[in-house]
């Protein structure tokens, strides 16, 4: 297997990690929604925490995308 093919395969494999990040982001917003449906008046107060949790979790998905880019172009 030459290096070019291995790069493409490596990049494809690295993107598998984003599945976990997607699940994590879904968990955050799902929990926020179920909490907001029970207590709508308190929901807006905690929205900044939701955005912070989303950004930190999304970062891990972006890290796996970074590994894919490094495999492809590094």
């Amino acid at each position: 297997m030459d290096a070019e093919a291995a790069k493409y395969i490596g990049a494809g494999l690295a993107t598998i990690g984003m599945g976990g990040a997607g699940i994590g982001v879904g968990i955050i917003f799902g929990n926020y929604l179920s909490g907001a449906l029970r207590n709508p008046s308190a929901a807006a107060q905690f929205f900044p925490n939701v955005i912070f949790g989303f950004a930190v979790t999304e970062a891990l998905g972006i890290f796996s995308f970074l590994v894919a880019l490094l495999a492809l172009f590094g």
Binding site: I51, F52, F54, A55, V56, E58, A59, I62, F63, F65, L66, L69, F73
Partner: protein, 248 residues
């Protein structure tokens, strides 16, 4: 065939060398100058007449001030007041750099790990120096939360140390990879529009699909630009809290 990665290329505009170090003016540094000048001009002009009932520009400036002020007060408390100018400048520069990257034909300054790692390194070094200056060697008690059983201590300290040392890495890579990934996505879909439009026939009519996708992605990129600047500033406040108030 140009690659979607060409937009991140650094081009030297004015070659300079200071003491053997390449200090050239590049497209990246030109955009940094432009962002700093634009932000400074905005705040100077907005706050020129300090009205009690603010006009539009002064309202925006005051809202940004209060946003960061509340963030620091909620996360660091009263001891964070001296660090407000630093965190405000950091937040405004990253916000300005992220949004300047959304302008057509612009260069995204924060899409380079050199830039974002500099910010993260300054924050990390600052936190370490402030922690040791304020608490001396007692700062190291941060790595062993109170109430852990003594037999777990070696493992906990190693885990906490690794997690602490990974802070500058995650802080910088989060911002850099978000900006880079977003802009690569935009370029890739823009390439699809061109290649589908040039294909002719039925495929040309379908070229509107990547165009609509690009509109949605641009909206997402505007959101991500703001969120990433906010998260960088918020994490800086949280790390500062660990250093200033030691109750881990």
């Amino acid at each position: 065939m140009s690659s979607p990665l060409d937009q991140f290329k650094i081009e030297t505009k004015v070659p300079l060398e200071i003491g053997g170090i390449n200090a050239s003016i590049t497209n990246s540094s030109l955009w940094m100058f432009a962002i700093v000048i634009a932000l400074t001009a905005f705040f100077l002009i907005a706050m020129r007449r300090r009205e009690m009932v603010p006009g539009r520009a002064q309202s925006v400036a005051e809202m940004l001030y209060e946003f960061i002020g509340n963030m620091i007060r909620d996360n660091v408390g009263h001891g964070g007041r001296p660090y407000f100018p630093f965190i405000f400048s950091l937040f405004m520069f990253i916000l300005g750099a992220n949004y300047a990257g959304m302008l057509p034909y612009s260069f995204t300054v924060t899409s380079h790990i050199a830039v974002t790692f500099t910010f993260a390194a300054i924050v990390f070094m600052g936190v370490v120096v402030i922690g040791f200056a304020k608490h001396g060697l007692h700062f190291l008690s941060m790595f062993l939360p109170s109430g852990t059983p003594i037999y777990l201590a070696p493992l906990i300290i190693i885990i906490e140390l690794i997690s602490f040392l990974s802070r500058p890495v995650t802080l910088s890579v989060r911002l850099f990879a978000n900006m880079t990934a977003g802009h690569i996505l935009l370029k890739v879909f823009a390439g699809f529009i061109i290649s589908m439009g040039a294909a002719g026939g039925a495929i040309s009519a379908l070229a509107v699909l990547p165009f609509v996708m690009n509109i949605a992605l641009s909206a997402l990129e505007f959101l991500v630009a703001g969120v990433q600047a906010y998260v960088f500033a918020l994490l800086t406040c949280i790390y500062l809290n660990d250093a200033v108030n030691l109750h881990h």
